[in-house]
Amino acid sequence: MRGKDGEGARLAMSILARMADVVGARELLDITSAHIDSSLYQGPATLEFAERLADGGARVQVPTTLNVSGVDEHGWREWDVSESWVTPARRQMEAYEAMGCEPTWTCAPYQTQPRPGVGEQVAWGESSAIVFANSVLGARTERYPDLLDICCAVTGRAPAAGLHLTGNRAGQVLVDLSGVPRRLAEEPALYPVLGHWIGLRVEGRIPVLDGLRARPGEDDLKALGAAMASSGAVGLFHWVGLTPEAPDLDAAFQGREPATRMCPGPAALRAARDELGSGLSDSAGLDLVVLGSPHFSLSEFAALARLVDGRRRHPGVRLLITTGRAVRELAARAGHLDAIESFGGELTVDTCILTTPMLPESIRRLMTNSAKYAWYTPGLLERAVAFGSLADCVESAVAGRVTRDDGAWTAEP
């Protein structure tokens, strides 16, 4: 009873009503689930906001998952996390759990949790999860920022606007991939690089991808979307013949003509790949190889286990994989973690290097296959970073320096 009518619920509804006015929504619609990014501790203000809601009796009205936490509750002592961070970050986690959110602690809830269906109205936070929910699952969520996602969950409502409405989901920019050489099309690192390239150019518009001589899998689409949502403000893309709202080109554009057409070729993509790095040249020394933004999936663990099997990392380079607690359990049960541990790999669960200040000062040079890690590392962590494929990352961890296979990136059409 308190959940619906208390101070906390009133605060959530008043913020939601103001935002409905800002976005020009004439009404609120019912949502069936929520994913909350607000749980991320940023400082005293985010904690005060969380406790205002929780102490005011706010309770979520729909099934609600939680994004990465500000701290790996069990493993933080193995890294350089300070007590002064852990205490308030934990308090903030507890506030969201008190509101009835499920402690899933992952930026990729779709990897282990029940998924919303096509056309289902939801309110998701976390840019990489939003773009996955809209594009790959065909669910409907606006790009909910921190502080608003929880207001939707507590009220069970969202402004009827933006990507909730069919008319706003039409493609706007055609990205013609017929110029991507076959060998590059089969390179998994194409997807984060392509997403980075597209995000910079489309900003907030909806891209429609077509013409690639390969069929991406779910991990590829996860990496593609996360990259677009970092360099751009993309909340939805369509892939013709693959994603639910794009059985063909005409459906993707809802019968309209594409206003803009882009044709990235191998030279542009190679430049975009190099642009993802910052301050580290090829063959430079390395301190850390980090994988898992968005959180590593079970199939990514399988691929990594195959690559590291029977090998050992260079003593000067740590290998860190960030994932959620549920995927770690699945990976352990599937037997993928043995090879990774023998290699010298380490896991952090529930959080990531961007959301917990966990890296010691001695780690200055990073390498990753994640466009999102590469994009945010220079500004958030003030460290140098190199970008490469998963195979490049493993080879580099063994060699102790940046090692990249350029074959796919120099291939002719």
Binding site: L11, S14, I15, R18, M19, V22, V23, D37, S38, L40, Q42, G43, P44, A45, T46, E48, F49, R52, G125, E126, S127, I130, R143, Y144, P145, D146, L147, L148, D149, E203, G204, A229, S230, S231, G232, A233, S278, L354, W375, Y376, P378, G379, L380, E382
Partner: protein, 146 residues
Amino acid sequence: MSDAPAAPGSGPLTGRALVAGAAEGAVLYSSEPLSFWGGYDAKTGEIIDRRHPLAGRTGAGRIMAIPATRGSSTTTAVLLEAIRRGTAPAAFLTRGPDTFLALAAIVAAQLYNRAPPVVALSAGDFDALRRIPRARVEATGTVLAR
């Protein structure tokens, strides 16, 4: 040729005040969107996205003119922290409505009784800010060059 409304001391620009309020200060302009998460240091007010044209500049107390936010959904949380600490821009002027900036200001008004005004301008008026070094934002959404 198109300078008529843009030069300092010229006619006002009028936008839609998503969050109404008054502010005056130096204009910090960029035609490039900014993510506050990974882009703005709430402790100092410095712009820390190394790839952004405003990298190294301070946004604290400025009339920040950016076309939009981009990227992370944590932008709102970082801006709320900055408002609480007093390191936030004095006002935001954007090209079209930016809901992330508006949300942070709306929550700050609820929690701390203070919020930077957020005004959405037309594309033409936003571009005109490039040539305005100092501006006053009024509660009506009017922007005057000072």
